[in-house]
């Protein structure tokens, strides 16, 4: 299973499905990361975590631990 955690800086990826449940999952969805959304990995923070994404035209920061819940196509 390929997740967002494995994506490299500069990759443009499509979300296949979200795992997990509860607040974290809902928050990720509320911010616009849903099934079929196209994301671009902009950069990774200086210390290697979190990562910055472009989602629906804005910038979002997500921890790698949470990115692992986002399965990619």
């Amino acid at each position: 299973m390929k997740t967002l955690k494995d994506a490299k800086v500069g990759d443009v990826v499509t979300v296949a499905r979200l795992h997990g449940e509860g607040p974290v999952k809902r928050r990720i969805m509320d911010m616009g990361i849903t099934k079929g959304t196209v994301l671009k990995v902009q950069k990774v923070a200086p210390l290697g975590d979190p990562m910055e994404l472009t989602v629906r035209g804005y910038e979002l920061s997500v921890r790698k631990a949470d990115a692992e819940m986002i399965e990619l196509v």
């Binding site: 299973m1 443009v12 499905r17 979200l18 795992h19 997990g20 449940e21 509860g22 607040p23 974290v24 999952k25 809902r26 928050r27 990720i28 969805m29 509320d30 911010m31 616009g32 849903t34 099934k35 079929g36 959304t37 671009k40 902009q42 950069k43 990774v44 923070a45 200086p46 210390l47 290697g48 975590d49 979190p50 910055e52 472009t54 989602v55 629906r56 035209g57 804005y58 910038e59 979002l60 920061s61 997500v62 921890r63 631990a65 949470d66 819940m69 399965e71």
Partner: protein, 728 residues
């Protein structure tokens, strides 16, 4: 009855700017009942009968964050007459997601598409008519920063206030979901407010626990509804909550495609991206951050030539509350024939005590001003982004760094800066640990012992910072594993808003609001505590008669200090003088040095680091007891001003007591270990109950540090289970 307009929108959409523009100075700022979410209310300019209620900035009406729950409870139970929904025109897709939820509440909605000037500058076009038709509400375009169209949008909202909705709600969801929702609506139609029928039905479909509890449906009905939901979930191969969110976004994508014409390609670079390339660059980010913080610190509380804040504070302390106010007050009081004790109370107690606190105001205003700029520009979010990796290791997030940094200057603004942390648990933990960092007022204590006992070694100060940082890390790890701070991991899914030029009005207003809340506290908590201490220090029994005492060795404070000093005996400084100095340190930490000087019988004025009494200290302290005393005073409850800040930010008596109690217990434990175990090594203390206690504390602390988090396993299991399910 005045008309109530609720102002709703995402964070960073310009809501504050619009609110300030619409209400001007007519604002009331407080907290929502029972929580530390700021509540702002104001009257619409030149419309005295229109109240604007600012809701917290939210992304959704989910039941998971405090802000969202506050907002939705307000909308559902208090029913404002109309909702003014602000939408960031440059980020329309995510902003409309909230709109699709607001229109379900049965309250008329007026959409105000903000930052229309930027939209135009980007060459994008928004078709207001199509957008309005697709969501069934009126749309206005505004620029809150320039004041364009704001009043018109508010007046349009006033016109719609209380009117029933005429347009039909858009069918956001697909056939089978709408079908299930219709079924749920039918089965609960006699149980809820008709205006909120669709909202309740959708929430039940999402299996929203808060709504399930509120409605408390009979078991068979709940089962019947659940069957409908389960059918949908099976058909669409997803859980109900995801189905709703997905379909809302799908609907919005369709609306945006029809009504917004974007000039730029989706993934091309904006100015903000270009700034970010430098500012959060993998190599340059940390040095840039260090430079920015050093500049803020230097201007607000650094050395005199650069720092506006320090110069103003020194003037307030030395001139205003040193040369001007006290003689004037004394002169006035004597001239009207006040009793001596009253002159003493007012001058030595109130003026000196409150003055000492107000002296910090200029420094703080400068600091708040600079921080408000960083916040408004969008840099704060980047700091959190850069620092998160380090802080999450001990249960905090990147956002906790700012309060701690400010705490090196003064704990009060440090604690207050914790407000920007949205997550309740992170915020509480940050409030509890920020004051461990040695603040400016604790430096004299360090200076005194470093000079008097450790030969002026700078290692003492370095070790003090080291202990402060270690205390934060240790507390973070220990507290994270307790029931209070356990539970669902806090999502750190944070928007990095586009950089923009600060809105000066907002910056000044934020600076003033924070400064004013501090000044107000100086007039309440601090005033009361200084009066009490003045009394205890100045009165006592001499020759069996109660009255004012010349020598404060005879004061009530000395008596009380003597009575409780046994508490500190296991820490090595169980003398009444050290006890009293610790207590006066609660008024302001720099008092510790002056109190020790006084109590050790030094009559003259002492300089900040107490150079004059360096010779006296070794007769009362050994190196070990001095160090133990210093650590206790650095870590234990902070001064009253900081405790007041903690109380305000916790907004809860129990949590305040817990925070302060925790600090005291932690300080006691550390000092106990230092004195008892250190003493055993140097031969100063012989093996006894104290040593055993210290070893038990040490073992307990190590156990709490290394034990497995008892609340950790559950989530991993659910994650694994859902993964396995997905794999099937």
């Amino acid at each position: 009855m005045p008309i109530k307009i609720a102002l709703a929108g995402n964070p960073n959409c310009g809501k504050t700017t619009l609110f300030n523009h619409l209400t001007g100075a007519n604002q009331y700022v407080g907290n929502w009942p029972g929580v530390t979410v700021e509540k702002k209310e104001g009257r619409l300019k030149s419309h005295d009968d229109v109240i604007i209620q600012d809701l917290p900035g939210i992304y959704s009406l989910s039941p998971y964050t405090l802000e969202e729950v506050v907002a939705r409870n307000y909308l559902v139970t208090e029913k404002p007459d109309v909702i003014l929904n602000i939408i960031d025109g440059t980020n329309i897709e995510r902003n409309l997601y909230l709109t699709t939820q607001l229109i379900e509440l049965g309250i008329p909605v007026v959409m105000a598409v903000n930052m229309i000037d930027l939209v135009r500058k980007n060459g994008d076009r928004i078709d207001v008519k199509k957008l309005g038709a697709a969501l069934g509400c009126e749309v206005h375009t505004i620029s809150a920063l320039k004041g364009e169209g704001c009043i018109e949008a508010a007046e349009a909202a006033v016109k719609l206030a209380g009117k029933p909705r005429t347009a039909e709600l858009p069918h956001v969801f697909t056939g089978s979901v709408e079908h299930a929702i219709a079924h749920i609506e039918e089965s609960i139609s006699d149980k809820v407010d008709p205006g909120l029928l669709r909202w309740y039905a959708i929430k039940l479909f999402e299996r929203d626990e808060k709504v399930q509890q509120q409605l408390a449906l009979p078991a068979d009905l709940a089962r019947h509804i659940d069957q409908h939901i389960a059918d949908c979930e099976k058909e669409l191969d997803d859980d109900a909550e995801s189905i709703i969110t997905n379909q809302r976004y799908t609907y919005i994508a369709g609306v945006v495609a029809k009504s917004v014409a974007k000039k730029r390609a989706v993934h091309s670079l904006t100015t903000s991206d270009k700034i970010d390339r430098v500012v959060t660059n993998r190599i340059a980010a940390l040095p840039i951050f260090a430079l920015v913080m050093a500049a803020v610190y230097a201007i607000a509380m650094g050395g005199t030539p650069i720092s506006i804040g320090t110069m103003a504070t020194e003037w307030t302390n030395e001139v205003l509350f040193g040369e001007i106010v006290p003689p004037a007050v004394e002169g006035f009081l004597t001239s009207i024939g006040c009793a001596d004790w009253l002159v003493s109370l007012i001058n030595d107690g109130i003026v000196t005590g409150v003055g000492a606190v107000l002296g910090f105001v200029p420094q703080m205003l400068v600091l708040f001003f600079l921080l408000s700029i960083l916040e408004d520009v969008g840099y704060m979010a980047r700091i959190a982004f850069i620092m998160d990796r380090i802080f999450r290791k001990f249960g905090l997030s990147g956002k906790s760094f700012i309060p701690m940094l400010i705490g090196t200057g003064c704990g009060v603004p440090g604690v207050m800066a914790s407000r920007t942390i949205e997550n309740d648990r992170d915020r509480k933990m940050t409030i509890m640990t920020t004051c461990f960092i040695p603040c400016g007022a604790k430096m004299p204590i360090i200076g005194l012992f470093a000079g008097a006992i450790f030969g002026g070694s700078t290692l003492v100060a370095v070790s003090a910072y080291f202990i402060g940082v270690a205390a934060i890390i240790v507390s973070g790890i220990i507290l994270k594993k307790t029931k209070m701070f356990a539970g669902d991991p806090a999502p750190f899914v944070m928007e990095l808003p586009a950089y923009h030029i600060p809105a000066w009005g907002n910056v000044l207003r934020a600076t003033w609001e924070r400064g004013w809340s501090f000044i107000k506290r100086a007039g309440t908590v601090i005033l009361a505590s200084t009066v009490v201490l003045w009394f205890l220090q100045g009165f006592g029994f001499t020759d069996g008669a109660f009255g004012m005492v010349e020598d404060n060795n005879n004061s009530l404070l000395a008596a009380i200090g003597g009575a409780v000093s046994f508490v500190f005996a296991p820490l090595g400084f169980g003398t009444w003088q050290a006890t009293v100095a610790t207590v006066t340190g609660l008024i302001a930490k720099e008092n510790v040095v002056a109190t020790l000087a006084q109590l050790f019988g030094y009559a003259g004025e002492v300089s900040e680091n107490g150079e004059e009494i360096w010779g006296l200290i070794p007769t009362h302290f050994t190196a070990l007891t001095a160090y133990s005393f210093m650590i206790f005073n650095l870590l234990c409850a902070p001064c009253f001003a900081a405790m007041g800040a903690i109380k305000r930010e916790m907004n809860n008596g129990k949590w305040t007591a817990f925070a302060i109690g925790y600090m005291c217990v932690f300080a006691y434990a550390v000092s106990l270990m230092v004195y008892q175990i250190g003493g055993l090594i140097t031969g100063e203390v012989s093996f006894g109950i104290g040593t055993v206690a210290a070893l038990i504390v040490l073992a307990g602390m190590i156990w709490m540090l290394v034990r497995k988090n008892p609340y950790d396993g559950k989530e991993e299991q659910t994650l694994k289970a859902s993964r396995m399910e997905a794999a099937r």
